[in-house]
């Protein structure tokens, strides 16, 4: 059998993987704080006996696009967005620290400050607890949380804690399988004083829908070319058979 067929097959499979990455980005166009996954193809040469003529393709997602999404103002006190670079530290489901850009916070029944999916937000020394019941929560530009306990006079604002904001460099950080970000080396990131928050706003997904659609068209056509190659391989085989046929 012609090896060309296998190379075309691997190309088609990898194109489908790449489309899955694009489809996931498009499915998350409205997920707040979502960072688009990048996708690229790498050539993987097959070594063996004879000339190394076969080069397979392999799709990989080298990183995420860390560009900021657009800010959407909501006016809600507990909606925060990170301005520019930086991340909000939260506690993941295993109890370890992870980072996110998703800022729609809420207060749990026990007074813990948590994200909309129930992950506790980290302060200077662990998860942040508010003295409930609170009448008003104020989150400052640097993450400082001031609350007005219910029934307290307006001047009795209490400083509670400060949301841990970190700013590791883009290449140091990567998305985990739960969609949260962590440092690649497993270390915790240092709190940074340079990260600023915007209150009453949320960061939208940074997926560029047009770009995703365009690359999907490209991938679709590429897939069709791979199929065409498979067809050609089949025709070549048929012609071989005809040559050897005894007339």
């Amino acid at each position: 059998m012609d090896r060309m067929l296998y190379i075309a097959t691997s190309g088609a499979t990898q194109n489908l993987n790449a489309i899955s990455v694009r489809a996931n980005n498009l499915a998350n166009v409205k997920t707040n704080g979502f960072k688009a996954d990048l996708e690229q193809a790498r050539s993987m040469q097959a070594f063996g006996e004879g000339l190394p003529t076969r080069v397979f393709a392999m799709t990989e997602s080298p990183s995420q696009n860390f560009d900021g999404g657009a800010l959407m103002t909501t006016g809600r006190d507990l909606d925060i967005a990170v301005e520019g670079n930086g991340w909000i530290a939260v506690q993941d489901k295993q109890g370890n620290e992870a980072y996110t850009r998703k800022g729609n916070l809420q207060i749990s029944a026990t007074g813990m400050l948590e994200t909309s999916d129930g992950l506790m937000v980290m302060g200077d020394g662990g998860p942040i607890q508010l003295p409930v019941p609170v009448e008003k929560v104020q989150i400052g530009r640097d993450g400082t949380i001031t609350v007005k306990p219910q029934g307290a006079p307006p001047e009795a604002l209490e400083d509670i804690d400060r949301i841990k904001l970190v700013d590791p460099d883009g290449p140091e950080i990567t998305k985990g399988s739960d969609g949260l970000f962590r440092r690649k080396d497993g270390e915790l990131a240092e709190a940074s004083a340079n990260v600023t928050l915007v209150k009453g706003a949320l960061e939208t997904s940074n997926v560029n829908a047009i770009e995703e659609m365009t690359s999907m068209i490209g991938l679709q056509r590429q897939f069709e070319m791979q199929v065409k190659m498979m067809k050609t391989a089949e025709e070549n085989d048929q012609h071989h058979n005809q040559i050897f046929r005894i007339v």
Binding site: I19, N24, A27, K30, S63, I107
Partner: protein, 262 residues
């Protein structure tokens, strides 16, 4: 079947949910005391196809892996309890809460529900009840049949002036309750909410004290739905829906090509 189909299907599902939430908000744009919801999206788990750092040959490593996401999901509908606008009606039994708090309403099964809708009326025994289903306001307040005028003070004192007298007589005190996490209340329809494990226990108090809102007689709190915002969201959701369905049709064409050509 190919994962891209399923991934896009989660996108379609989520947008459809979002449109349901938006349409419910729009449908309640003039419901007194209504609080708008919004759908909260989240990305689903990622599947590790190629582990970064895996061997590509005996002495080389793959610098990058391939992680395929499984799509998106609506994880929650978050209620926004911001204050609605004030609509003055001059009806003495329209009582609005200006600030935090909910009225306590006794349901027919004996449990308590909470509402921000201050449109009250009296039933056949003179008790203050909700206008829709006629559920009793708690603590019960009875307006005597010969009352000429009902006055509700900012702190919830209800006084009436009886026929033939000049003095006002106190007939009861309206209280309001607040929650640690009002967004955790469960909406059950009829403008009512019930307590859940995540909302926290109700803290009852006198209006105007301890951070609770004050009462305004002769006014109603309009729905806090911003119609323009909802329409913008609707456009966005519709387009995202179309893009996800475009992915499905593209993958379909690709598979069609493969089937026809081979």
């Amino acid at each position: 079947m190919h994962p891209a189909l399923w991934i896009s299907k989660t996108g379609l599902d989520a947008q459809q949910r979002d449109i349901s939430v938006i349409s419910n908000n729009l449908a309640n744009a003039s419901t007194v005391g209504f609080k708008k919801s919004r759908a909260v999206f989240e990305d689903l788990l990622y599947q590790n196809i190629n582990q970064p750092g895996g061997r590509s040959s005996t002495d080389t490593e793959l610098p990058n892996g391939l992680m395929l996401g499984a799509g998106t999901k609506v994880v929650a509908t978050q209620k926004n309890f911001s204050q609605g606008n004030m609509l003055t009606t001059e009806n003495p039994l329209d009582i609005m809460i200006q600030g935090h708090g909910f009225y306590e309403i006794l349901q027919p099964d004996g449990t308590i529900a909470y509402t921000r809708n201050g449109q009250f009326t009296t039933n056949d025994t003179g008790q203050l009840v909700t206008s829709g289903a006629g559920f009793q306001l708690q603590p019960a307040i009875t307006i005597p049949p010969d009352a000429q005028q009902v006055t509700v003070s900012q702190d919830g004192q209800v006084t009436v002036r009886l026929r033939g007298t000049a003095d006002n007589v106190a007939v009861g005190q309206i209280t309001v309750s607040n929650f640690i996490n009002p967004a955790g209340l469960e909406p059950i329809g009829q403008n009512l909410f019930v307590e859940t494990a995540v909302s926290g226990a109700p803290v009852q108090g006198t209006p105007g004290l301890e951070g609770l809102g004050t009462l305004v007689q002769g006014a109603l709190e309009t729905s806090n739905v911003n119609v323009t915002e909802e329409l913008v969201n609707l456009i966005e959701s519709q387009r995202v829906y179309e893009m996800n369905s475009k992915v499905i049709s593209s993958v379909d064409q690709m598979l069609g090509t493969a089937i026809q050509q081979l």
